[in-house]
């Protein structure tokens, strides 16, 4: 492994190992409950309902392959400031930090690693890296927001 590099925060979200650079993370809070928003994108779980935090939309990457779960009390939510505004990402697990990763540049390796990712997640990751614990993708909250497609959002109509 190489390093030291800019420190990265590693986590699992949507069943995938992802990372962001530590300075990108505003805060990490513990979810108590979220307020559901009608006709939202399926990855939008709702607004963080926490008296100590402004209402921030919480995204759940599991919603890219189905529907986001409603409140998951006790889940960790990483808060980011993006170009569009504040956004939260629900984490399944925090894996710690790393500065000893190496960026993988081999196109075939990167392509093979991207293949299992849902399309909208694949377009929201910027680089593949690995450290002594395994491989992970760097995740861009700005790219994620920019590529969300409202055609997936619910429409008025009979509820099944």
């Amino acid at each position: 492994m190489s390093g030291p590099n800019a420190p990265a925060l590693l986590f699992e979200a949507g069943g995938h190992r992802l990372a962001v650079f530590v300075p990108e993370v505003g805060r990490i809070v513990t979810e108590t409950r979220v307020l559901r928003v009608p006709f939202a994108h399926p990855a939008l779980a709702g607004l963080l309902d926490d008296t100590e935090t402004e209402p921030v939309p919480v995204f759940d990457l599991l919603g890219l392959a189905g529907a986001a779960r409603d409140s998951v009390p006790g889940a960790r939510v990483a808060l980011f400031d993006t170009d569009k505004g504040p956004v939260g990402l629900r984490l399944e697990r925090l894996l710690g930090t790393s500065a000893t990763y190496r960026i993988i540049t081999d196109a075939d390796e990167v392509g093979a690693a991207r293949a299992p990712l849902p399309d909208r997640l694949a377009s929201s990751v910027t680089a593949l890296a690995e450290d002594e614990r395994g491989r992970f993708f760097f995740f861009s909250p700005d790219a994620f927001l920019a590529r969300l497609d409202l055609s997936q959002a619910a429409r008025p109509g009979p509820v099944s």
Partner: protein, 137 residues
């Protein structure tokens, strides 16, 4: 920033607030003591479940009934429970990062005991019409 009196209610999984001035009449407060007729012929108009309008299931056996001015006639919405009237709470706009198909529907949030979505009543009636007509499916 705006503050006015809002009617706080829940409809399925949604906690919402509507400007009190937009509600023409509370026909029934719902709950086990409800006396509202269940036959739409007695009401004169078929109640529309707000939870279903918003895309979820209603879970009330005895819904509250709210009368609104619609077009071309009155609209009765049923909701799962009234929580009360919130006075003087500040309505904060939604962050731009809230990705929703109908952004005009949610005017913002207010906090009383818990966070609630403030709905725009005029837009809501439009959504109700889309729901009942099936035009927006």
């Amino acid at each position: 920033m705006q503050s006015a009196r809002h009617l706080s209610l829940h409809a399925g999984p949604f906690r919402v607030a509507l400007p009190l001035s937009s509600v023409r009449q509370i026909l029934d407060a719902g709950g086990p003591r409800s006396t509202a007729p269940t036959d739409p012929r007695a009401l004169g108009v078929m109640p529309v479940p707000l939870a279903e309008v918003l895309g979820a299931k209603s879970d009330a056996a005895h819904p509250a009934l709210l009368l609104f001015d619609g077009y071309p006639g009155p609209v009765v919405l049923s909701c799962d429970g009234l929580r009360g009237v919130v006075a003087g709470a500040e309505v904060r706009p939604l962050p731009a990062t809230v990705i929703t198909r109908w952004p005009g529907l949610c005017r913002g949030t207010l906090r009383s005991d818990r966070l609630q979505l403030v709905l725009d009543a005029e837009v809501l009636i439009g959504v109700v019409e889309a729901f009942t007509d099936g035009d927006a499916r």
